[in-house]
Every structure is written in C-alpha cells, then in structure tokens.
C-alpha cells in the first residue's frame, strides 16, 4: 500500500509571503484582511480583503520568458512552488527528467491584469491596444507557468471547480502517487483578487463590510482573499530514501455534487455529509477517528449553518470535542486557491501539534455548535484531520490528512 506524504510546503498569503510567516502569524491570531489597494473600491459594500503584499513576494530566479507577462496569480504560484521544492530539499538533479504530475486548482488566473484591457475595450472600442494582458486569461495559465519554470514533463492538470478546486487538486495528486502513477507530484492552488469576483460577491450581498467572522453569531459574510499553496506530495518510501521530513500524509479524498442550487448550499447538510463520508471511506477511516476539521467556514450565514449541520450528521454528539477551525478570518476566502492553502495549514497543524484559532470568532451561534478554537491557538496532538471545501454549483470536496507516525 503506497502512502502519499506531504514533504514540502510553499505558502503565499495576506499574512505573509512564505510558509513560516503565514503560519506564525496565523497561530498568533493575526488577520491579513485590510483595505484593498489593488483597485478602486468606490461603490462597493466593502473596501477590505485579504490582499497579498506584492512587494514581499519572492520570485525565484527565472528567465524573462517565464516572468515577463506573469500575472499575480502566477507569481504567487511560482513563489510557492519554489518554496515547496526548497522545503522538500528536491535538488535540481532530483528526477532530472521531472515527469512529475502538476495538479493545481485555478480560477481567476490573469483576469485582474486582463480587466484593464476589458475596461479600455468596453469604453473605447475595438482599436485600443492590448495583448500582453491577455496571455494569462485561461485558468490553467499559472499551472503552465509553474510547469515551464520547473521544466516539468508529467501530466499537467488544472481543476477549476470554484472554491473546491484545489482541494480536489490535492486529492487527485495524492491519488496519482498512491496509485503508482508517480513518486512525486506537485499540487495546490492559486488565485488572485480581481474586480469580477469582488463585484460578483458584492452583488450577491455575500461580503461583510468588516473582516469575516466564521461561525460567529454576528457574521455577515465573507472577506475575499488571495494567495497560493504548493505542496510536494511524495511516495513514503521515496521520501524515506531521501531522508525527507514529512508534514503529514494525504489519506484520501471525497468529491460529490449536491445537485441543489448554483449558489445556495443544501441546507440540511445531507449533501455535504455525503462528501465527508466519501472522503472518510476513501481514506479508510471512521468518523470517530477524526481529531480536527479545517472547515470551509466562509462566514456567510448559509454556508456556516449548512456546514455545521453536515458535521453534526457525521460526528453526532462528539462534534463538541472535535475542534473546527476556519482560517478565512485570517487569510480571507481565497476561492480556487483556498483548499490548497487550507490543506497546507492542516498539514502544518498536524506536524506542529498546534491548532490555529478561528480569527474573528467571538460570539457562539447556536446554529453552529462547534468548537472553533476561539481566541488563541491551542496545543493538540492530532492523528487525523478533515479539510473540507464547498463550492458554487454544489461541487464539494474533502481531504483526510493524517500524521506520518
């Protein structure tokens, strides 16, 4: 039985441009949600988001053919990929033909950059200039750039199922390792803020004017975010031979569809229960064995209620003893990048035996009867963790991560 270990993590978020800064600030209860400087927010219901500070993002040394037209989403992914490879101590000649699968959740890609063209085109007609901003419009462009930068020759897959994209990506990459298609896979997700998503969620009245407060009785919506996570997923014996230090093991994943509504979750939690049970079954573990949930926890009224209903169905009375943490009060909702970033946090949580707090949570909600690790981080010895994501269209996914001990 092959095991898929996470042996490298790269993370770029509004909390920081790398894994350690993000983790230390997350554990300290910091929030990266702040006033947006990326574009003019006049006329929106809110002016805040978890925006990455571009000046801190450290790109590896790459040829201009890779970086010249690279979008922000690509830059996040390139920085995270470089950090993950260095973290995994995968040297230049490790697998000199790098036929590694690259499986990434992606969404907006270069849309923020292209919006400048769209604005000019709509206001000034067909003769406006515009070329380089259009190159990274396709959702798989950041994946292509990472593949190009690292010289990868294996399968290159971009999952684009909105907010569950990179959860599915991590599950799929781990499955490819577990099933013997590859010894190493790179996976994760990336997404960047843009006016389309900001205006869209604004139009749905889904944005809180204040920083998001997951599972809190006062919650009024989400805070958008951006960033990237890239994970090195490696077959256990391959990792052992290299002396690699694992963070966690990807035990399995589940993916289902609630077939209910494009934007509303199925309220009873029954549909999401199927997703969670599919993940548990794939991992071969029982619900009673789960020690912690890294939740979707967007802080919208409907999401958090339906999500907690699903956890009640799965964990029953034991739910009170299973800490359920949402990181979206700290790093925002990073959409197609969210699941990968949350998988990275879940792996760090296991490896470092510390539960980060749900930033923004203060007042309990009777409809969300979970322990969200309020106020401060908490030490915890964790063997098995669920990381769940729910998306527009009902495309739901969940990962089961475990310790490598």
């Amino acid at each position: 039985m092959r095991e898929a270990w996470i042996t490298g993590i790269g993370l770029v978020s509004a909390l920081g441009p790398d894994r350690e800064t993000t983790w230390s600030r997350l554990v300290a209860g910091a929030s990266g949600i702040r006033p947006i400087t990326l574009f003019d927010t006049t006329g929106y219901r809110t002016a805040i988001a978890a925006q990455v500070d571009d000046t801190t993002v450290r790109l590896p040394s790459l040829p201009g053919t890779v970086t010249r037209h690279a979008s922000r989403a690509t830059r996040f992914a390139l920085a995270a990929a470089a950090e993950a490879l260095a973290d995994a101590r995968l040297s230049e000649d490790e697998g000199s033909v790098r036929a590694w699968p690259l499986v990434v959740g992606g969404g907006a890609a270069g849309l923020f950059e292209a919006e400048g063209f769209v604005e000019r085109r709509l206001t000034r007609g067909p003769h406006v200039r515009g070329l380089s901003e259009l190159i990274e419009v396709p959702q798989d462009s950041p994946t292509d750039r990472v593949g190009q930068a690292l010289g990868l020759t294996g399968p290159r897959i971009t999952v684009t199922t909105a907010c569950s994209s990179s959860t599915i990506a991590v599950g799929l990459a781990a499955e490819m390792v577990r099933e013997g298609e590859a010894d190493i896979a790179l996976t994760g997700g990336t997404d960047a803020l843009c006016r389309l998503t900001f205006a869209g969620f604004n139009s749905l009245h889904a944005l809180d004017a204040q920083p998001a407060k997951p599972f809190d009785r006062r919650r009024k919506g989400l805070s958008l975010g951006e960033g990237a996570a890239i994970l090195v997923v490696e077959e256990a014996n391959h990792a052992r031979r290299r002396g690699a230090e694992p963070y966690a093991r990807v035990r399995g994943y589940g993916v289902t569809n609630d077939a209910f509504h494009m934007t509303q979750p199925e309220p009873s939690g029954a549909a999401w229960e199927r997703t969670l049970r599919a993940a548990l079954a794939d991992a071969g573990v029982a619900a009673e064995e789960i020690d912690h949930v890294n939740a979707h926890g967007t802080a919208t009224e409907q999401n958090d209620t339906a999500e907690c209903a699903a956890y009640r169905r799965v964990f029953g009375a034991r739910l009170a003893a299973v800490p359920v943490v949402s990181v979206k009060g700290a790093i925002g909702h990073c959409l197609c990048g969210a699941g990968g970033m949350e998988a990275a946090v879940a792996a760090l949580t296991i490896a470092r035996s510390v539960l980060p707090p749900t930033v923004g949570f203060v007042e309990p909600d009777p409809d969300c009867p979970v322990d969200p690790v309020a106020g401060a981080a908490r030490p915890a010895s964790l063997r098995l963790v669920l990381s769940s994501s729910f998306a527009f269209g009902g495309n739901s996914a969940a990962l089961v991560l475990g310790s490598c001990a």
């Binding site: 969404g107 709509l122 994946t143 690292l150 199922t161 009902g394």
Partner: protein
Amino acid sequence: MSGGPFVRAVGVVCHAGSGIAALRRALADPDWKPEPGLARPDAPPLPVAVCRDFTTRDVLPPLLARRLDRPARLLAVAAREALLQLGDPLPWDPERVGVAAATWNAGTSALVEVLRAVFLACPEEAPPAQFPSTVANAPASQLGILAKLGGPNVTFAEKQAGGARAVIEAARLLDRGRADAVIAAGVDEGDWLNAEGYLRLGALARANRPGMLLAEGAAVLVLAREPGPAPLARVAGCGSASSPAPPHRYPDQPTALLAASHQALARAGLTPDAIDVVICQANGSPALAALELTAWGCLFGDHRPAVLAPAERLGEGAVSPALRALVATLALAGQVSIAWPPPPELGAAGFPPMVARPQHALVTAVAGGGATEALVLSRA
C-alpha cells in the same frame, strides 16, 4: 486504468448542428464547409464556428432554459441527447453518476456583462444572476442540478486539450470506484472577448494567414464501468505528458505528444501499428501542423493509419478533443462514414482518409502551454 471504461452513449451540439445525426451528415459530405462568423458589437465578425441554429426548444422547458447561460444550455442539450439513449430512469443510482467537464471559455459572456456594469455603470449594477455563470464549472454544475446527478462533478481547464482531460479524468473516477457512470464533456461558447484575445495573439485564421477557427458547442460521452447492452466503444488507454512552453504557444518539439501517445498505447496493450485511424488535432495552426507531422512520422514509422481532423471545419476548443473522441466512438461503432480528407500536410506524407470501420483509434490533443493528452479508443 486496466480494462478501461465503455462509451455507452454520446451527444453533441456543434457547428454542424444539434445532434449526432447532423454531425453524421456533415462528416459524410466531402463538400461540407463551415460558415464561421461570430458577430462583434463594433467590429467585423471573428473566425468562430458558432452553433448558429442552436435552440433549447423541445429539449428544455423555456423557464428553465432562461435561467441557464449559453454554455450551460449547450451542455444540457448535448447531455440530454446522450442520456436519452440510456433510458429513463438511468441504469445507475443518480448519486453514483458524475460529470467530468472541460472548458476553455465558458463564463466569458457572463464575465463581460458583470464587468460592463462595473466599468460603464457602477459596481452596484453588477447583475447577481450573471455572476454564478462566470465560474468555469457552471455548465457542469447546472447539468448536475438539472439531471440531479450527485456523483463527482469536476471541471478542468486545459485550453484546447481540455476535452481529452475530461475523458481521462472520467475514466479515473470510474477506475477508482468514485462513480458508476461519468458524463465526460467538453463545452465552449462563442464569445467575442475570448476570440478577440486570440486574434490579437495571432492565433486565429485571417484572410492572409493560416490559424485556428475557434469552436462553439458541447460534446458528451457517457462512460461506464459496465458495458451495458450496447456499448459503442471502449477507452482502452490514456496518456498524459507536458512540455514546458508559455501558455499561448505550442511546444517546439513533439516530445510530450509522443510520450502521451506511447503511454496510451502501452496502457491499451497495443503497438502503434495496431492503430487504424488517428483523429488528430490539426486546427490550422502551422506550428501544431509541424508538431503533429513530426510526431506521427516518429510514432508510426512506415505504418500509415487513416487520419481525420475535424477541427479544420468544426473549430478548435476544449470541446474539440471530446468531439474527436466522439467521432472516434462513432467510427469504431460503425455508425458513421467519413468523407473528409486528411489535412494536406499529412495527406502528402501518405496518411490516407478513413474508409473502413477501424478497430483502434488514437485521439490526441496539445494545449498552448504544452499540456498534452492521448486516448486510445477501441471497439467494444
């Protein structure tokens, strides 16, 4: 993917019309020519093979159709054709039926409408009903909602190779027991912003230079682990590789195309000389034509399978590899006669047109950026 899933049913909406019958008629007519042209509000039409006469009439209730954007309607109609062949109710628990879709540009029209409001009016004018359609997974999700399909519902982005990725991932979902049947699909809409972008990048055909004709439409293959009473074909093997290249360019070398083809053949337990027909990509791009010519020369040596290139007339997009797999399925099932010649450069290299019912077909796709897929389909 030992054994490989069976293709149980197919459905299509494309430039040739709605339905398999319209596609069959076009493929059987050597003189059938596309009539491309996507209107722009303020400039000449663009080279897109649109589904000009597409309608949801007699397929979807009007109130329901009105709620869907165009790519969701295209996919719903193509899927409806396929699912009707399987009976009502479907022979599987709906919670065990999944969707694996791919798109290059679904959602762009909705995106333009949201951004038009933001840029020309104010953010508060952004239409909330349009926003959910801007996500690429909207067509597959809407199909899941319409048909009440609770299995895995996953959408992939791989530009013009997307439809092949959808078939590969559908096969994987079945192989891993995550579903009993999966609707593998490619879907694209004809939209001016996307097409204008590729025109500006020099990728589309113009009067004085060769290039791609973009596609609009949806192609659906229902895959299942069990053959059922009348399987059309079998996905015997899949291969996947990539070459490092910028997102808007094809690779310089056919390394990944050869690697993916060899993988697919090996997984099917076949050698290249067993392939009777290659449903190749040949989309009008000179760079891709050179890539394919080199690859097929290396792969087949002196063997000369028949070659067919539907994208020359039906256009290129994420829908196209799924459409090529669909055409291969019909050919393997003996349900289509092909009168279209191979692309000129491959014809000149001795690759003949398809005249006989094949036993094994190779379908390939290379995306800008270098992601590359290959499928071997065989008679069921």
